[in-house]
Amino acid sequence: MNNRIGRRFEELKAEGSAALITYLMGGDPDFDTSLAIMKALPECGSDVIELGMPFSDPLADGAVIQAAGQRALKGGQTLKRTLQLTREFRQVDDQTPVVLMGYFNPIYSYGVDRFLADARDAGIDGLIIVDLSPEMDQELCIPASRAGIDFIRLATPTTDDARLPKVLENASGFVYYVSMNGITGNALPNPVDIAAAVARIQKSTLLPVCVGFGVKTAEQAHVIGRASDGVVVGTAIVSAIADTLDSTGRVVADPVKAVTNLVTELVCGVRQLDRRGRDVSTAI
């Protein structure tokens, strides 16, 4: 594997650790702040950055990420500026994989071919597009793979054994297992069920299988990290940012610090360490 995503998972595998994948909304609460947060993420241990592309109608997102998208759009964020964010991030970090997450329409509006060229140029490694299932692979998945950008597939509790091969067929990068039937921000379901689902998917693919939706604390990251190849944390990070803003969305505390504090804790959870850096992987 010669791309950043593949390399990063290889490294983690060698270390015996799951990946911590951190989500933030591009442009929330403004361009400069989100760039500062993005730059701070790898330093405090985030392995992969998932960068949200704001959309007016995010039908798989709960209130927290909806609000972040609205703040970003109000601040003038566009798909073009989200690519620019990545371009500026790449000036200081050429190793950390950046995956765009969002909905299809802004990309369709931008033009698929032009978008893929610009995304590659900006240093984007993968795409997670919530409203593109395998049935619509001609739209973006296949052109993206051809352009060398991974198309990360979502698998869900409704993806049964009969359907799983279809979901995995054109998948690349990693597989994103959505822990529940639901929207972002909901509570984490029973980890035992999640572990079973991850094991089932791992049997059918060589790609890493990561879990997202519902993971908010270091303890949860720890449990899910043990059962999978990576843990995605979104709503908790976006909440930490929101907590540093006043009701009009103005920054009144330090969002970078709020995020790095949280991510530092989450890293301990995922790496199976306690807060003083001691290995607890066998203790639980």
Binding site: N105, T156, D160, N181
Partner: protein, 406 residues
């Protein structure tokens, strides 16, 4: 310019991928995909099942009250002094609009699929009322999502839904209209996919909804076609319907699509004019994009963010349109034109005064188009207008707009 190839028939369904040309499709999260595919299978089976057909017939006749009459609006015709105007009286259906045609069909599908909970989105409240009605009749719990802007302007329907036992959930995102209600309904569906059936209210959403809703609504056009042939011995010159998501329109249009002599006009909400963003004329002023499970014409900005739009009528206040209409527009078979708020308001009052029929504000848009074209047509020509619903729900809003003392 390259010549547009004319298909053999405009009445074919969507293709295997659920596409009408490049429009339609299944742009939904993976969580919903298995359900959407299952719905399609179940729908195909149901269509071929005489027992399903019989139960639908029974409900349609004795519960909905079909066939609805095709009424010769002689007073309006005289008033305008041109083509003969017929009204397809969907306002006379149980619950007061065409929406019930679709709801009786979908509730039978929900039952067949073993679902135990119903959700719906609504703008004008007519679909919410129709969904709550069939839910009451068949004993399903029902949640209806409705934007607070619409709850305010369609209060009588909110009360009806509550009386029918539905849980009306107020939606506060965006401009709090139909688009936002649909987002919220989709979020509910993703969360409760195991037991919930989503009764989509228009010929929109992911495949197979646009086709399925069209099929349930096509009874309008099928009846109108045989009624006019019986009454006048010929097909109409023009048929007209208002377009929100497009279900009453495709229901009227579909049986006439291959009748090349029939001019077909879909009326979009022109709101306060097409120049700015205060309208919902997605086919006159929008461009193709992907929203709510399908590709279609949308009002959107340069970045692909969906615009909110505006219409005086809650049922037309939607920035998109069903994908089959998008395809019919590009193929040139149907003309889509805007009618402005004030024109609809005029037509609302005109029909009320000269025919003693209070139309829904949605339907008033279609009436307004007939008012525009009838005078310049011959007295032996025929227009059929789909009177998709009655205006009781709009009486308060219109009285307010007109500053009436009550």
């Amino acid at each position: 310019m390259t010549a547009r190839p004319v298909p053999n028939s405009f009445r074919t369904g969507a293709d295997e991928q659920g596409m009408f040309g490049k429009y339609g499709g299944r742009f939904v999260p993976e969580t919903l995909m298995p359900l959407v595919l299952n719905l399609e299978r179940q729908w195909r089976e149901a269509k071929g099942d005489p027992a399903f057909e019989a139960e639908l017939q029974q409900l349609s006749t004795f519960y909905v009250g079909r066939p609805s009459t095709l009424y010769f609006a002689d007073s309006l015709t005289r008033h305008l002094g041109g083509a003969k105007i017929y009204l397809k009286r969907e306002d006379l259906n149980h619950t007061g609009s065409h929406k019930i045609n679709n709801c009786v069909g979908q509730i039978l599908l929900a039952k067949r699929m073993g679902k135990t909970r119903i959700i719906a989105e609504t703008g004008a409240g007519q679909h919410g009322v129709a969904a709550a009605t069939v839910a009451a009749k068949f004993g399903f719990p029902c949640v209806v999502y409705m934007g607070i802007t619409d709850m305010e302007r369609q209060k009588p329907n909110v009360a009806r839904m509550k009386l029918l036992g539905a849980d009306v959930q107020a939606v506060r995102s965006g401009r709090s209209t139909l688009k936002d209600a649909m987002n919220e309904a989709l979020r509910d569906w993703v969360t409760n996919v195991h037991d919930t059936y989503y009764v989509i209210g228009s010929a929109a959403g992911p495949h197979p909804y646009p086709e399925l809703v069209r099929d349930f609504q096509s009874v309008i056009g099928a009846e109108a076609r045989s009624q006019i042939l019986e009454r006048e011995g010929c097909l109409p010159d023009v048929i007209i319907a208002a377009i929100g998501g497009g279900s009453n329109a495709i229901g009227l249009f579909h049986p006439f699509l291959d009748d090349v002599g029939v001019r077909i006009i879909g009326v979009e909400a022109g709101g306060r004019g097409l120049k700015g963003v205060e309208h919902c004329a997605s086919m006159s002023a929008g461009r193709p994009g992907v929203l709510h499970g399908n590709r279609t014409y949308l009002l959107q900005d340069d970045d692909g963010q969906i615009l909110e739009g505006h219409s005086i009528s809650a049922g037309l206040d939607y920035p998109g349109v069903g994908p089959e209409h998008a395809w019919l527009r590009d193929s040139g078979r149907v003309d889509y034109v805007p009618v402005f708020d004030d024109e609809a308001l005029e037509a609302f009052q005109l029909l009320t005064r000269v025919e003693g029929i209070i139309p829904a504000l949605e339907s008033a848009h279609a009436i307004a188009q007939a008012v525009k074209i009838a005078p310049s047509m011959d007295a032996n020509q025929i227009i059929i207008v789909n009177l998709s619903g009655r205006g009781d729900k709009d009486v308060q809003s219109v009285a307010d707009i007109l500053n009436m003392e009550i």
